[in-house]
């Protein structure tokens, strides 16, 4: 079975154009009319040579979101782009009540309406179809229109916690760097490292009771990395396969036994190591 899949993938790859794919998730803005969309990667469409719009189509109807990318420095050795975006995560959060969030069936606690503005600055250097480095600074914050009674998610997945960090902790900031290398005409190798800082855990507010005190204090720092190989498929598309790593505080502890036979409990950070796969269509 694996041989069949490999044959199909390589077969598709052979029809790939002789030019390497462009590096992705950089400060570069596509030429007017160009687009790309993945199963998980956002839909991107270049309205002009200096303005690109993007959004996640899969999430759009439950988490309306849009980002505008403005290419400020484009045809220079070092390119500069700013991004501004907006998301409304309330419907998605309400849909997941009972699983990720409480149902609150006997009280009027709720996930309130909110929006999450986002701003980012990206700087890239190098040639788009060869080796490109990118530095990124990003900030998202919550603008709440109603009280939200849910605290930080603190789930088993660091990336899921980060996705809900701004709605639940007030903000999340990110500093990151990436390098994207062309390996011949078919492959690209992309590595990315990020440091994230979330808002404080805050206080627990229960409707009808009031502020009942501080939520447990977990480290607000997340460290993530992503390593992926992109395989050129068809004229402009690509298959991306990789590994994602997240290191964060999920409240875990570990019991260690000493030489005297007695044990001690220590708080430890948690890790996620997750496979990633995406197929990204692109054109023209």
């Amino acid at each position: 079975m694996s041989r069949v899949i490999l044959s199909v993938v390589l077969g598709l790859a052979t029809v790939a154009s002789a030019e390497p794919r462009v590096a992705r998730d950089t400060a570069d803005v596509g030429k007017k009319g160009s687009w790309s969309v993945g199963v998980f990667a956002p839909l991107r469409f270049a309205v002009t040579d200096w303005l690109e719009l993007s959004g996640h189509p899969l999430l759009f109807f439950v988490d309306p979101n849009v980002t505008a990318r403005f290419g400020l420095l484009r045809e220079t050795p070092v390119r500069l782009t700013t991004e501004v975006g907006l998301a409304v995560p309330t419907p998605l959060m309400r849909l997941t009540q009972g699983f990720l969030f409480p149902s609150w069936e006997t009280s009027n606690n709720k996930v309130g309406w909110m929006m999450v503005p986002r701003a980012a600055v990206l700087v890239s250097g190098g040639e788009r179809r060869k080796h490109v480095w990118t530095a990124l600074a990003e900030f998202q914050f919550r603008v709440g229109f109603e009280q939200t009674n849910a605290g930080p998610l603190t789930s088993f997945l660091g990336p899921l916690d980060l996705a809900f960090a701004a709605p639940l902790t007030g903000y999340v900031g990110r500093l990151g760097g990436a390098a994207d290398f062309a390996l011949g005409e078919l492959f690209r190798l992309r590595g990315e490292l990020n440091v994230h800082l979330t808002g404080s855990d805050g206080r627990l507010v229960v409707n009808g009771v009031g502020d009942v005190g501080p939520l447990p204090s977990l480290s607000p720092w997340y460290f993530t990395g992503h390593l992926a190989v992109d395989l050129a498929v068809g004229k402009s598309s690509r298959l991306s396969v990789g590994v994602y790593y997240a290191n964060y505080d999920s409240g875990a502890s570990e019991v260690r036994k000493g030489a005297d036979g007695l044990s001690q409990r220590f708080r430890v950070r948690s890790a996620n190591i997750l496979p990633t796969v995406d197929f990204i269509w692109a054109g023209p």
């Binding site: 990720l100 149902s103 605290g151 088993f156 206080r203 501080p214």
Partner: protein, 385 residues
């Protein structure tokens, strides 16, 4: 997955955990903890030991959680848990037991602010040693945003614990595989206590299933009975058995064994109609399953003391889901309304000054247990033969 975790842990990347630990063991060593505060070594124990068993409701006191159906809380603030545990530690300190068995104690759950309750109690009482046996260890419970859970049974002792074990109990069979993997996996805690002068006794802490409809609780109680019958050392057991005393036989529809007028089996004042049909509905009680324990061992409260009918039995009730500040659908405030918690010792032992610490004044305690948990502590002085 475990191998992958081990590789990454060895690389020092970080802690690696399964999403839900199946606690897949039959019998294994349990950790032993010691109080950090320096305390004098207790003198060798005599024949009498003060013993207490208490389900401490994960330090939530009277906050109503969603599965109780009187409220819908999922999480507590740090101060709520610390305030509650401070009250619990004060009550323990007032009674000042030599041995304490606790259930529903947590060591790192999101709902209880990740507080290590074993350490909290160790540092605030005269109990010097403890062992903790996990019964529920999930990195994330994907229900109601419950999140991380680390719950178990603990045994605390004034005297050194020389050996501690976790003994696995049977899991429920009436749940789908996903629910089952993220659910509680009951286990008995066993600790050997060195009382000095070459005296060793064994303490057991138990908490059996509450919501099964497949006879799991009955099997767990039977397993506990078998464990105690096989125990070669002098022992004491305490905990929340989630079962009523065997005053009668629930299977007898009439006659001398019938429960009619002797023991309430349904219609407790803290039951809420909205719980009916949910996975947290109260299954039928089967008090007859407790009979072998009463026949073969010595309970801290005998059936003769317990008596028949609510009025007589009331002073030994140990449980109420509904707290004193809440009222049921008929406007009746919550109060202890059934007995689920017990202390037993082997034949030849006797109990002195045994009681249920339902309210201030019992056994010299001034703290109000009704506000500290949904279970009352059962306590007494165990006199060994």
């Amino acid at each position: 997955m475990k191998r992958l975790c081990a590789i990454f842990a060895a690389l020092g990347l970080a802690a690696c955990e399964l999403p839900a630990d199946p606690l897949d063991f039959t019998r294994k060593e349990a950790p032993i903890f010691k109080a950090q505060a320096p305390r004098p070594t207790p003198p060798p124990a005599g024949k009498a030991l003060k013993v207490m068993a208490w389900n401490v409701k994960y330090g939530a006191c009277r906050v109503d959680f969603w599965f109780d159906f009187w409220g819908d809380r999922v999480q507590l603030s740090r101060t709520e848990v610390e305030d509650c545990l401070t009250g619990i530690a004060k009550l323990i300190q007032e009674y000042d037991p030599d041995v304490l068995m606790t259930s529903e104690i947590e060591a790192g759950s999101k709902r209880s602010a990740y507080i290590d309750m074993v350490r909290f109690i160790l540092e605030r009482t005269n109990l010097n040693y403890a062992t903790y046996v996990q019964t529920w260890s999930s990195r994330y419970v994907p229900s109601e945003g419950v999140g991380r859970i680390d719950l178990g049974n603990a045994i605390f002792s004034r005297y050194p614990i020389t050996k501690a074990e976790a003994i696995r109990q049977q899991d429920r069979t009436d749940q789908d595989p996903i629910t089952k993997s993220f659910y509680i996996h009951r286990a008995v805690a066993r600790a050997e206590l060195d009382l000095g002068n070459s005296q060793t006794v064994v303490a057991y802490a138990v908490h059996t299933e509450a919501y099964d409809n497949d006879g799991t609780k009955q099997k767990q109680i039977k397993q506990i009975h078998e464990l105690l019958k096989a125990e070669t050392k002098s022992w004491v057991i305490g905990g929340d058995f989630n079962e009523l005393p065997p005053v009668c036989d629930e299977k007898a529809t009439s006659g001398a064994d019938s429960c009619e007028g002797k023991l309430r089996l349904t219609g407790f004042l803290d039951e809420r109609a909205s719980a009916t049909g949910t996975m947290y509905a109260q299954p039928p009680y089967t008090p007859s399953v407790m009979k072998p324990l009463y026949e073969d061992f010595v309970p801290s409260v005998t059936l003769a003391q317990y008596g028949v009918g609510d009025a007589q039995q009331r002073r030994y009730f140990t449980h109420s889901v509904l707290g004193p500040d809440g009222k049921n659908d008929d406007g009746v405030p919550g109060y202890w309304n059934r007995t689920l918690d017990y202390l037993f010792a082997p034949k030849g032992s006797r109990w002195e000054s045994a009681d249920v610490i339902q309210e201030p004044g019992r056994l010299g305690v001034s703290q109000d247990a009704l506000r500290l948990s949904d279970h009352a502590p059962v306590a007494g002085t165990w006199v060994r033969p």
